[in-house]
Amino acid sequence: MTHKHSQKIILILAVAGLVTLSACGKPQNSASSAVQSVVSSQSSPQSTASAVSSNSSSATDSAASSPVSASSQIAAVFTTPPATVVAQSTKADPSYLDDAVFIGDSVSLKLKNYVTAKRKTDANFFGKARFLTAGSMGSGNALKPLSSSSIHPSYNGKKALLEDNVAAMGAKKVYIMLGINDIAPYGVDDSVKNMAKLLENIKAKSPNAMIFVQSSTPMIKTMQMTSLNNPNLAAYDLALSKMCKEKGYNYIDVASAMRDSEGNLPLEYCSDPDVLGMHFTDKACEIWINYLLTHTVK
């Protein structure tokens, strides 16, 4: 077996694991429901994404042997503007983030690690922002009850529901980026519903906190999977922006700074091009941080 084959098998196992992990959550979807839910909204503005998804669908999510085709169609999805977005602003001082907490999965875990390393030489790097991150977390599994085996991050050694940890931290700004662990098991629509429910829970316990929903970010061209792929990520982001507009949350379009002309994550921004193709390099973290500090709300 070649090294490349081993990597693909590991990738498939990882995705299968994700599906299994989430199978006992909220309304169960079949493995193909991600595609179905997108297809069901074909009359919506993300119809291009739906068409691409349904063309490439199969019963289970798996790594495609080649990038999703119809790149012109895909590009059209990425050019659809979000329903609402925090506009560009003059670059804020990092202290803007002193009262912020960042919630996220392994993509945000990289940001946490990058910030932690930078703070060794600059204690005020990224302000005093704190993090609630956990590998494999999604809004779906974050809604599950707290237990020793639940995927909820710890802060100061205390594992708690996100809404409880956010309240305990006294955060005034809550930045959240989830989705890459939701789309395959839940589909686009239910992933957004789960995010909305999670944010309701957070707002209920931290009513004065400002909510900043960050878009999910794209994958590299060669790592597209049946359900987790750039068209579906773009469709998820678009639906997320609509939910934010409806609920009055701030939508931060980080993905717009992370796409090449075809809507893919540039290779230079990807730390795991041979594994999952979606995690960030230090350079991507710099771009991300710059985007956050130039898209602020007073």
């Binding site: 992990l21 993509v107 990289k110 390393a117 956990a134 594992k159 995690h279």
Partner: protein, 158 residues
């Protein structure tokens, strides 16, 4: 005669208790410089995308009180996609070491939860690794080179 035997028995018991308190019940340790141990480990570690943690990181990352720690060294993966995580501590006393052990056990369990269905290759590595306590020394070494790194650690503290 019975009184003498009883006194001798009591003396033997007292000696055992005193020895036990010095040696943490059989796991005798020697004074180690964990910074130097980590330097030696770093020369062997093949993952080049790791970073040091400082004392300020102990509470947010592990819930460990800095006051409980006499010395420590921590070196963790920086990518967010690998399980490599090495933390070696010396508690300031036995109670502190127990508290640190509890925190590192919780951290190990959290890593299991996060990796089990998400990063199966990393999970397999994690399952071969462990949290160890020897006297007031408590460590969690998670690495594909676990056996080699544990040898370095054990040679330093035992």
């Amino acid at each position: 005669m019975k009184r003498i035997i009883a006194l001798l028995f009591a003396a033997a018991m007292l000696t055992t208790v005193i020895l036990c308190s010095f040696t943490a019940c059989g796991s005798s340790t020697k004074q180690a410089d964990l910074g130097k141990v980590m330097t030696e480990m770093k020369s062997k570690i093949t993952n080049k995308e790791m970073m040091d943690l400082s004392k300020e990181d102990l509470m947010p990352n592990y819930g460990i009180e800095a006051a409980d720690v006499k010395q420590f060294a921590a070196y963790v993966d920086s990518t967010g996609t690998k399980g490599d995580e090495i933390i070696m501590t010396e508690g300031k006393d036995a109670d502190a070491a127990k508290r640190i052990k509890d925190k590192l056990d919780a951290r190990y369990m959290q890593k299991e939860t996060e990796m089990k269905d998400y990063l199966p290759a990393e999970f397999a590595i994690l399952k071969k690794c462990s949290v160890n306590q020897d006297g007031n020394y408590v460590s969690m070494i998670v690495s594909p080179q676990y056996e080699d790194l544990l040898k370095i650690y054990n040679a330093a503290i035992k």
